[in-house]
C-alpha cells in the first residue's frame, strides 16, 4: 500500500485560537480531498485541470453578492469543503468560516501540484516552533 501524500501548510504568526481554526479547516479539506481522491479520482483530476480564470470572477461575484446582505457573513468567508484550486467542486460549500481559511487557499496555490488523484493525502499544519 502506498504511503499517503504529505503536504505541509506552514502558517506563522497565528494565535492559539487561529491555529485551532486553521487546523480545523485544514482537516475539513483533507477529509474532502481524500473522499474525492479515493472515491472519485477522475472528478478530482478533472477539477484540477478545469480550474480556469473564471474562478477569480466567481470569487469576486460571491464577495459582491454577500455585500447585498445586511450583515450576514460579515467578517466571515464562504468556505469550500476543498478549495477549488485544489480540485474541490466549486459548488461544494461548507458555510462561512473565519478569514483564516484564506491562508489555506493561498497555500494551496503553490501546493496543488502535489495532489495525486487516487492517493490518500495528509494535510499537515506547521506552526511557529514546530
Amino acid at each position: 500500500m502506498l504511503r499517503p501524500v504529505q503536504i505541509e501548510f506552514p502558517a506563522a504568526g497565528l494565535s492559539p485560537t487561529q491555529q485551532q481554526l486553521f487546523s480545523s479547516h485544514l482537516a475539513e479539506q483533507q477529509t474532502t480531498l481524500n473522499r474525492l481522491s479515493l472515491t472519485a479520482p477522475s472528478d478530482l483530476e478533472l477539477n484540477l485541470l478545469n480550474y480556469p480564470n473564471v474562478k477569480a470572477q466567481v470569487a469576486a461575484a460571491r464577495r459582491l453578492a454577500r455585500g447585498y446582505l445586511p450583515g450576514q457573513g460579515a467578517g466571515l468567508d464562504a468556505a469550500h469543503a476543498l478549495d477549488s484550486v485544489a480540485g474541490g467542486y466549486i459548488h461544494e460549500f461548507v458555510g462561512f468560516r473565519d478569514p483564516i481559511q484564506q491562508r489555506i487557499g493561498a497555500l494551496w496555490r503553490t501546493r496543488a501540484d502535489q495532489i495525486v488523484p487516487g492517493r490518500e493525502h495528509w494535510l499537515i499544519p506547521i506552526f511557529d516552533g514546530e
Binding site: 461575484a61 460571491r62 453578492a65 447585498y68 446582505l69 467542486y89
Partner: protein, 182 residues
Amino acid sequence: MKFGAMHKQESKRVPGFSVAAFGIDGEVQGIDRWDFEKLSSKWLRICGEYLEHHGASFDASWSGPLAHIQTKFTSASGAALVTFGVKGKLAASVALASGLTPATESSVLKMFVNSLRGVELVAAAAQSPEPFREVLAIEERPLMLVVPWADSEVSEQDQALIRELAIHTAGAFFMRGLRAPE
C-alpha cells in the same frame, strides 16, 4: 437546501424585505433581511420617484452623477425583473417578488432562472447541474434576488453604487406596491 419561511407573517404591513444573494455560479451566498427603517429614506424617495417617473417597464439611465448607470426594469403583478448596467456593462441582475401574486411570481422567477442559466459565464462557472435552483425554493416574501456579475470593467465604486441603487429600488418597489397597468 431548504429555506424556511422566516418572515411569512407580513402580508398586511411590510416593514422590510428579504434578500437572497447569489454568485455567478448559481450558488446562494446568503439570505437575510433589510428593514425599511435601516435604509436611507432619501434614497428610497429618489428610487421611488425614478420608478414612478418611468412606469412599469422601462430601459433608462439615471441622471446627474449617476448618468452612467442604466436600469432595465420590467414589472407585472407585484413581480419585477431588473438589470443594472454601467456604461453598457452588466453589473447586477435582480428579481423582485412581492408575494402578492404567487402564480405570476413563480412564472417570473422561473424566467429569471432560465435567463441566468443561459448566460455563458454561468455555464462556465457552475458545476451544479441546476445553478440557481434555490431561487424557486425560497419562501420569504417580499423577496429580492440579486446576482452581481463582477465585471472587471465595472469599478468598485460603481459596484457599490449599484448595490445601493438596487437595494433601495427594491425597497421602493415593495413599499409602493408597484403593479403593471391592467
